[in-house]
């Protein structure tokens, strides 16, 4: 693994952020509602960061996150309900099942060079297809919720009576996913993904097998979504076909784009800012007019698209550059003052 560039100033800020995230539940006496909310924010941050690999780097407008997440949830849930297999194993099997489905879909799509809008439509159809399938498949899914047993040990069945452990599990996964992002970005695969996101024909005549690069990116993304799906099922304590949620897929893609395509920390940052903000709006405006928070949320998304099309991360980069020059000038000015005295 290549971890050069890992310890630059930008990442020190990320480390501080992680430190704060670790400390929040310990310092503040947070309510269960706030814990669930923060866990949800992390869930979106993980999914948006995973999307960054296929969407931000490889430029494929994938809208199937919820399909892979749901499949991970159903695999983990069913294994626990039927065979009492711990979700610690189940979630990785869920990841593998999601990857298998992704390969099944990705192989023909990338083989026939389905791109851009057509890829987006095909992948978003996958979510709907999966939902219908699991709605009819009564042994596993069906229209009623199937509850996960609490069992004897909460650590074995991953069923806790508060959200704190889930929060920390999500935080660990987020750190791992960010590291995976970093590793891919500076690997040979990452360069091929970035290049094919820019110009697929040009990258193929340089000897890149674009189908295999895209499949690898899709596999990693689907695996992460599947694993997170397993924890998602554990948090909610049941599995239901409503987990195959088109609007969730949409939102993950939006967060990936708003965060800044290809910036490693952009999607996670966008998720933290936007999802917290959405929940804040929901809590404060929800009582006045149902759905108003979504309208306000949409207006903010439109504003970001209009004024910051390269994403929030690009804005932060610009701010950091300006701060740096400001400090350089400040120290220079001080030196000049000392000299003149």
């Amino acid at each position: 693994m290549k971890f050069k560039n890992l310890f630059n100033p930008r990442n020190i800020f990320i480390l501080i952020g992680i430190g704060i995230a670790l400390a929040i539940p310990l310092i503040f006496n947070t309510s269960q509602y706030v814990m669930l909310l923060m866990t949800t924010v992390l869930l979106y941050a993980i999914l948006a960061s995973a999307w960054n690999i296929i969407g931000g780097m490889a430029g494929q407008l994938d809208l199937a996150a919820a399909a892979y997440l749901g499949l991970g949830a159903f695999t983990t849930g069913t294994l626990l309900i039927r065979w009492n297999i711990t979700p610690w194993v189940g979630m990785f099997l869920g990841g593998l099942v999601a990857t298998a489905l992704a390969m099944l879909i990705g192989f023909p799509l990338f083989g026939f060079k389905v791109k851009e809008l057509w890829y987006a439509l095909s992948s978003s159809a996958l979510v709907v297809v999966m939902q219908s399938l699991f709605m009819m498949w009564n042994e596993v899914g069906g229209p009623t919720e199937k509850y996960l047993p609490t069992g004897t040990s909460p650590w074995y069945s991953l069923r806790f009576n508060n959200y704190l452990p889930y929060y920390y599990i999500m935080l660990v996964i987020l750190v791992v996913v960010l590291l995976v992002n970093h590793w891919i970005r500076y690997s040979k695969l990452g360069y091929s993904l970035l290049a094919l996101g820019e110009d697929e024909d040009a990258v193929e005549v340089l000897g890149v097998n674009s189908q295999s690069s895209k499949l690898k990116a899709l596999a990693i993304y689907a695996f992460i979504c599947g694993v997170v799906g397993g924890i998602f099922a554990s948090i909610y304590g049941y599995i239901h076909p409503a987990f195959f949620d088109t609007s969730m897929s949409m939102e993950i893609t939006i967060l990936g784009i708003v965060g800044g395509m290809g910036f490693i920390y952009g999607p996670a940052m966008a998720a933290i800012v936007m999802v917290s903000f959405r929940e804040f709006l929901r809590a404060s405006l929800g009582s006045q007019l149902a759905g108003l928070y979504l309208a306000v949320y949409a207006i903010i998304l439109i504003l970001v698209a209009l004024y910051q099309p390269r994403g929030i991360a690009a804005l932060v980069e610009l701010g950091m550059k300006k701060a740096k020059t400001y400090f350089v000038e400040l120290t220079r000015g001080r030196r000049a003052d000392i000299k003149s005295n």
Binding site: K188, Y191, S192, L194, A195, E198, D199, D201, A202, V203, E204, V205, L206, G207, V208, N209, S210, G262
Partner: protein, 233 residues
């Protein structure tokens, strides 16, 4: 070195090339000239595997390359520099060049980058710059440089003078001439007939997807057809 026999190609049901036959020998520079829409670019795209051929035969160093995928064609030593350069705008010049070594990263240790910088000194000065900041001529040089990184045996250039300031076209052509001197075989597609025939050893004229004329560069430049329709003499 490169042999194409009765090649038919096109997009979907639209056929663009009809029974194209030509060959390029070792150490030769061959120009393919013809008007807009004659199928010159399609021909190179078909050879490089970007466009799927419908029928025919394509051999490179006696290996069959007919209908191979682009990444496999380039691995055999047949580089293709597409029309307009097509560099990656959001990557630096150095990263662009390194992408050329994708199929064989070990080649970077052989000093190929220094050789390319010697040929195109401007790329060395600009190596840390994003490719989007380059001018049309510099982009073209970067694209040719990127094609050279894999140490190909034959390089196919699609309209290297396109989108390049007239002042720089001479420079680009000097570089292409230099490629021949360092022992590369060059297949050049050009609309700029005068330049192409000045440099090439042999040429083919392609009209409406078919080879209309062929011969040495001297023969083509002296033919009435070329003089009248291409050189405007």
């Amino acid at each position: 070195m490169l042999e194409i026999n009765n090649l038919n190609s096109g997009y979907g049901k639209v056929s663009v090339l009809r029974n194209v036959t030509f060959h390029v020998d070792q150490d030769e520079m061959v120009a393919i000239i013809g008007p807009n829409g004659a199928g010159k670019s399609t021909l190179l795209k078909t050879i490089s595997g970007l466009v799927r051929a419908q029928s025919g035969e394509a051999k490179f160093e006696n290996d069959n390359i007919f209908c191979l995928s682009p990444d496999l064609v380039v691995r055999r030593g047949l580089a293709y520099v597409p029309e307009g350069g097509r560099v990656f705008p959001n990557m630096t010049v150095l990263e662009n060049l390194m992408m050329g070594a994708y199929s064989n990263p070990g080649i970077l240790k052989s000093g190929i980058l220094e050789e390319i910088y010697a040929l195109f000194p401007i790329l060395k000065n600009r190596s840390a710059q994003f490719a989007r900041t380059l001018s049309g001529g510099e982009r073209q040089m970067l694209a040719i440089g990127r094609g050279l990184v894999s140490r190909p045996k034959l390089i196919m250039l699609d309209e290297p003078s396109l989108g390049v300031a007239p002042k720089l076209v001479d420079e680009i052509y000097e570089k292409i001439h230099a490629l021949k001197r360092i022992g590369l075989t060059v297949l050049l597609v050009e609309q700029n007939t005068g330049y192409a025939l000045e440099l090439a050893d042999r040429g083919y004229v392609i009209e409406n997807g078919q080879i209309a004329m062929e011969g040495t560069a001297a023969y083509l430049s002296s033919s009435d057809h070329i003089k009248k329709f291409y050189l405007g003499l």
